[in-house]
Every structure is written in structure tokens, then in C-alpha cells.
Amino acid sequence: MKLNRFGLLLMVLSLLVACGEATPTTTPPTTPAGTATGGNSGSVDRSKLSETLRIYAWGEYIPEDVPQLFESEFGVKVTVDTYSSNEEMAAKIRAGNSGYDIVQPSDYMVALLAEGNYLAKINLANIPNVANIDPANMGLYYDPNNEFSVPYLWGTTGIAYDKTAVSPAPTSWSILFDPAQLSAYKGRVSMLNDEREVIGAAMLFLGKDRNSSDPADLEAAKKVLLEQKPLLAKYNSDNVYQDLASGEVVLAQSWNLYTGLAMIENENIEWVIPQEGGVIWQDTMAIVAGSANQYTAEVFIDFMNRPEIAAKVADFTGALTPNVKAEPLIGAELKAVYPKIKPSAEDRKRLDWLRKGQNATAFSDVWSAVKSQ
């Protein structure tokens, strides 16, 4: 019975997704990992490896076969548990004795955890593949010398839209915040369910800094958001790609990672970093302070930075890989949309980070007020 119901749901779901293309999570065949593709296993001191390695990762972030590939090459059993927010992960790490060796904090969370001495200093000498990473993704504000983190995936926040429904092509946040423009798409628009992303976008629309917590700016942003709210379908950060692909929404504040997945399923989906600017983010790999398996963790991080493994990760997630050598190895599906979701050098100048931590209460108060109206 359970199977039947689920089967039915799957059937219905597949009916809804108009085109019958393979799911974006399919990974292309890759050459066996290891020495043949320029791996580093030669320089690894196997006597120093632990028996197990425990990873606490974002959900849907590590391809299922990757832990096995590592295990078959190095004989280290890798277990992966998942979380769905930085805060959820941080709570466990801060409580101590989490048992995890590797975590995947986003930019701002690297800074917060490092400040609290929850992350171990990484010995980059054990991670030669760090040379594959784009220098633009290294040495960023949250970890200027990459003492605590190695980039894993990165992306941007902008506007995704269905070009058959939204014209002319939007170039400004005003399509989402000017009621006169937005009302044409009433009920078919979503914003991320994230106080910093949504308030940050409103700030950009108002010509303010995306991180401003100035009370007057917040009050102005709140006003804009309250005018926008009745025209929205919802606030959603969980499955924007499904909504875009199926036509449930035609205009959305989105991460490029979701947009790429939507583009793979629906060729009418387009992406823009608005002229006022957008947000850049980066997820990393870091080692938990006090981990007994630091060397093994470093070997694992190096393994993840092999071009063929990093390409697998990009294919699996739809996010941008910081690994320059991985880019040519990306599977055909993602490759087709990759140029659209990767910001150009010009776009990149308009991107900046959401610096979270301080003043969080000011943002969550505005957010609660908006959502409860």
C-alpha cells in the first residue's frame, strides 16, 4: 500500500514535469578515481590514515558514490550525515563531542565558527589539489588565508524567470518590488524564505547596502516587503527549481543552483543578476577542532578537489564549482546551462556577501513583522 501510494505520487509528479528528460542528479560516467586521473594517492601516508571519517554535510551535497570511491581507494570508511541550515550544523558543533571530522559551513559561518575556535587549522600542504581552485574563490573576507576552510561550491542570488511568461526580460529588482510591475504576475512569484536574502534584495532595490541594519533602512525595506507580499505566491527556499520547472511560479528570487536545475528541465527558464547587484555565497569544507582524524580529513578534502570528483559534485548539485580543472569535465546537462548561471566577470563586480551574525535580531524582527501581517 505504501509503495502504491508513493508510486502514484511519483507518477503524478512525472506527469507534471512536462519534459521527460533525466533528472539533474544523474551523474555522467567518470573514469575510475585514482592514479589514472592524476590523483594524489601516491603522496598519501597511508599509515597515518584513520579507519573512519565522519562528515556532516549539506543535504544533497555529496554524491552518493563518492564516499565509496574514497573508501575503496584508501580503505577509510566514510559516513555522511546531513543538515539543512548552517545554524543547525553550528548548534551541534558548538555543543561539543559531535564526533564529526568535516563540516561544510557557508562563508559567514566559517568566520563565526573560526572565531569561536570550533574549527581546526588546515594544513594545506596535505591538500595539493587546492591548486585547482580559482584564486578568485580563495582568500575571501571570511577566511583571508584559508586557514580554516577550502571552497566546495559557490553561487549567487538573483532573479529566475520564465521567458515565455515574463517580458521584457527583467534587469532590475524593480520587477519584484515595484507593485506596478509585479502585479502582472500576481500569485506566480516567489521570494526566498530567508530574512537576509529577501531584506537584502529590498535594500538593493532601494539603493541601500544589502547588509544595512540601519533602522531607517530596515523600516523602508519593511514597507517595500509589505507592499510586495500580497502579490507573492510564497516565500520558498526549498524547491524553487520544481516550482520554476513546472510553471507553478514564473518569476522567483532564486539561487543560481536552483535555477540551473530548473533550466535543465525547462528550457524557457532564464537567469539575471539585477543591475543593482546580487549576492554571492560560497560553501566550504572545514575540519572540526579536536578531530582525531585531521590528516584523514585533509586527504579527503584533497580527494574532493580532484577535478573528476569536483565535477561530479557540480553535476550532482547544480552549483558552481570553484575547481577550474573540474569545469571541462562537467556533464553535458549542466554544461549546457553553466554559462548562463555562472556570473561573468562583469556580473561578479555587482555581487557581494551577506555578512551575518551581528544585528541578526534587527533582521529577524522585520521578517517576523512582515510574515505575520
Binding site: K2, R5, V12, L15, E87, E88, G187, Q358, D365, S368
Partner: protein, 287 residues
């Protein structure tokens, strides 16, 4: 004297597993939340140890919280009332079948439980979405599309659907124990159908109604997943506020204060409800 003390000690000893269990899983977390609720928020999102009443002062002036609480309560009351009205006849039907049939019917009520709750909620979205099955069907006749999700009605409907078994089963348990001869006796004594129901059946199934109502009301008033998935922008419930405070806002202290007030109000409401139903019951069966 000596005997009494031994007896007392033995009683405590016998109760100790339960006491330890309660202390560890119920009291300790509760005390922790109470302590947190008097602290503050540090810049990195951890709890700042600094005793004050600030969270409670903020909470009582926080219009957003009270609006959210009002909406949650209203939704939970509607859901509980409709679930009760729908479940009672069904439980009655189940309880009056042959014992073998009854088992099958209980199973039929239970089976949907075996599918993950989130999957069942997403199924509603698939059915009722802008491009959902129903709207595609209506499209064939040039009707619609109807806006059926992203509003309070969708949340209420999905909650009723999800909570039905919690109401049906206690009602069924109460009705199954009912001695049906009493109905004949009431009829013989000249009571009409409604009088029989109101004065004979209803009072005796009141414990089932009370249990079912609480089992439905409590999880409903605190839900956040259903309102997130089907509520659109219009439904922000206390559960959503709590998940914000304990999640991305990282303000555990304020979240704890909200939890404490929410818990106290809920407890008060339930005690009042218990008292009211007991009075109704006592009124029906004096002595």
C-alpha cells in the same frame, strides 16, 4: 511507624524509573528552556549569559507574535472542530460493525500513517497546485485555473487530512466500550434520536472527544511544515516563528521565551477545556 516508612521508601523506589525518565526527558529540557528564556543573543548567534527579563518585555510588546498566535489558535480550533464533526459519525460507523470488520476498518484508518507525512502534504500540492492535477483537469473544460493552495484554506484542509486518525481512534475506542443496550433503554423510556445522542451517547464518549480534541489541537497549533508548504505568504504560525528564532535568526533565548509563553497559554487552555468537559459530564451524571 517503621513499616509505614519502609512502605513509603518502597513506593518511591518503584516509581523511580518513571521519575528518572520524566526528569531526564521532560523536566530537564523544560528547565533548560526556562533558563535560556532569561538570557540574550551573542553576535555569533550563541546564547549570551546575561540574566534579564528583556525577552519577555519584548515578547509582550511584539505585535507580530500575538498576530501569529491568534492565527495559529484560530486555525487549530477550526481544524479540531471540523475533524471532530467528520470523525464522530465515522467512528460510530466503525464501532457498530462486526468485530472482524472493525479490525479492518481500524487498519484502513492507520494505513495512510505509514506514508511519510511530508510526502502526503506534498501530494496535496501536486493535486491542487496552479499546474496541478485538478487544474489540468479543469483546463480541459476551459475552467480555472483555480487558486487552491498558498492560502489558509489549503493549510486547514491538509491539517484536517493529516490529523483525522488522531481524532478517529480515541473516539472509536470510546464508542467501542459503549454498552449499546443503553440506547434501546433510552428509546424505551421515550427519548427521541437527538435526546438519546445528547444525553446518553455523547456524555459517555466525552473522554474520547476530549482526548481526540487535544491530540489534534496541540500538534496543529504548533505546526510549521504544513503552513510552510501549503500556506503561501498568508499563513505564519507559531511553529514558523519558532523555527525562525531557533534557525536562521539564531536567537535561542527569544525563541525560548516564546516557547514558555506559548506552552503556558496552551496548558491553561487545555486545563480549562478539561474542566469544562468534566463539568458537562458531572452535569449529565450527577452523583
Amino acid at each position: 511507624m517503621y513499616n509505614a516508612r519502609t512502605e513509603q521508601r518502597r513506593a518511591w523506589l518503584q516509581a523511580s524509573p518513571a521519575l528518572i525518565w520524566l526528569g531526564f526527558f521532560f523536566l530537564a529540557p523544560l528547565v533548560l528552556i526556562l533558563i535560556y528564556s532569561f538570557q540574550g543573543r551573542a553576535d555569533d548567534g550563541t546564547v549570551l549569559w546575561n540574566w534579564s527579563l528583556a525577552n519577555y518585555q519584548k515578547l509582550f510588546a511584539d505585535g507580530a507574535f500575538w498576530r501569529t498566535l491568534w492565527l495559529s489558535t484560530w486555525i487549530a480550533l477550526v481544524v479540531t472542530a471540523i475533524t471532530l464533526v467528520v470523525s464522530y459519525p465515522l467512528a460510530f460507523f466503525m464501532a457498530t460493525r462486526s468485530p472482524k470488520r472493525r479490525g479492518l476498518l481500524v487498519l484502513a484508518v492507520m494505513i495512510p500513517f505509514w506514508t511519510n507525512f511530508l510526502v502526503r502534504i506534498y501530494a496535496w500540492k501536486v493535486l491542487l497546485g496552479n499546474n496541478g492535477v485538478v487544474n489540468r483537469f479543469l483546463d480541459q473544460f476551459d475552467l480555472g485555473p483555480l487558486q487552491m493552495i498558498n492560502n489558509p484554506s489549503a493549510v486547514i484542509m491538509a491539517l484536517i487530512y493529516g490529523e483525522l486518525p488522531y481524532m478517529i481512534l480515541p473516539l472509536y475506542a470510546a464508542l467501542e466500550r459503549f454498552d449499546w443496550v443503553q440506547l434501546e433503554a433510552a428509546r424505551d423510556l421515550g427519548a427521541g434520536r437527538f435526546q438519546t445522542f445528547w444525553h446518553v451517547l455523547l456524555p459517555q464518549t466525552l473522554p474520547g472527544i476530549t482526548a481526540g480534541s487535544i491530540l489534534v489541537f496541540v500538534p496543529t497549533v504548533g505546526t510549521f511544515a504544513v503552513s510552510d508548504i501549503l500556506g503561501g505568504t498568508s499563513v505564519n504560525m507559531v511553529g514558523n516563528t519558532l523555527s525562525l528564532q531557533f534557525g536562521s535568526a539564531s536567537n535561542w533565548a527569544y525563541g525560548s521565551a516564546i516557547s514558555m509563553i506559548f506552552m503556558l497559554l496552551l496548558l491553561g487552555a487545555i486545563l480549562l477545556y478539561f474542566k469544562a468537559t468534566r463539568e458537562v459530564n458531572d452535569g449529565e451524571n450527577p452523583g
